[in-house]
Amino acid sequence: MKCRRAQQLLFDFFDGLSNETLRAELDRHIGECRECERFASEMSRSLSLLRRAPSASLDENFNWRVRLAIHRERTALRTRDTGSWVRAWNLRYAAGAGVAFALVLVAGVALQQSGMLDPGSSATVTSTAARDVPAVREVATRPSGAASLAQPSLVPRGASGTLVSDGGGSHSLVEGHAPLGAIDDPARTEAVMDSIFERQLVPLTPEQRAQLIERYIQRLQSRLPGQQPVPSQP
């Protein structure tokens, strides 16, 4: 038997292995090998020394310290759980506020792009369906497919006034907001109207345009105090 094998067997016997044949073989080797004899003696004595060393013990207070530590840990866990719940809700509120803000922003941009919030135009959009506004309804009748006057961005910058839609596709500039001097100066009124027509908001023939201008001037004049409405020409 080699020393390495003998030492391995020795460990096995320390662990309680009982094999008479191997035991006899090991004893024979140890009896012949001084090195292994020394090894077996030292190993046996050192391990028995270890097992004989007094064991330490904890006092009764230890149990109370464990109880206290458990109580503290559970309290801390509860606080942590509550904290995480609050944090989760705060996060949800913050996310909700962010989404709401984004929606408002998108709506604002959409409105601005649609021209409803165009700061360059002094015109505002109202609906005669909701408000009873005396209006010159025939200013521009929107034919199918034509650009809509309801888009304030298309209203000439010089033509201040309230652009009114009657809800049925007709739009008009309400009197009182007509360009200054429009009534006194038919040429200026005509220029304003021309600027509208030049933008091809309403495709009209020159005759129709002249007729429309005439009717518009008459309407405006009829609104002046002491003036009787002039019947429109057919």
Partner: protein, 210 residues
Amino acid sequence: MLTDTSRDRARWKDLTDEELMLKVQGGETDCYDVLVERYKNRLFNYLLRLTGNRDEAEEFAQEALVKAYIHAEKYKTIAKFSTWLYTIATNLVRNRVRSRSRAPQIFSLWTRVFGDGDDERVVDIPDDSQRSPEEAINDNELSEIISAAIQKIPEKYRTSFVLREVNEMSYEEIAAVTGLKLGTVRSRINRARNHFRQLIAPVLEKGIDF
């Protein structure tokens, strides 16, 4: 006359660890006291041998018992409670060792017996040949020598060695606690035994027969 609590406690003492843990999981948390009482000294001795420091060992024992209670719902009865508890304690020590950059604390007696260097085998204890072994070395000194020697065993061998030689666990249980294969556990324990033998040999050579 026994109160309900006293009667319960008497009854709980007859239950196995696993049965007690099931009760703890079921809400009878007072049962845990019985487990603490059962394991505190065994766990403390294991940790004392492992760390070589009484305060640290007590701190680890407390932490392990608290952790076992807090995570009681994770315990499954397929494993022995002792194995589970020792695994928690071993991991606590392992994590502490990893996070610690300084070397483990060496007892003053270590220097007396084994010197400072790893290779030193010089026994420097006073000549006590005129005294009996009992007089030459008392229980406290013996405990310190053993602790110091165990601290000199490489950390990776130490855990398995202490579980085997101090706590008398089976190889299977040690494998479960350490997460090592059975063959590795066996080989580490034997290596640790050899280290321990070499470390204690100078004390034995001095003629102190235990």
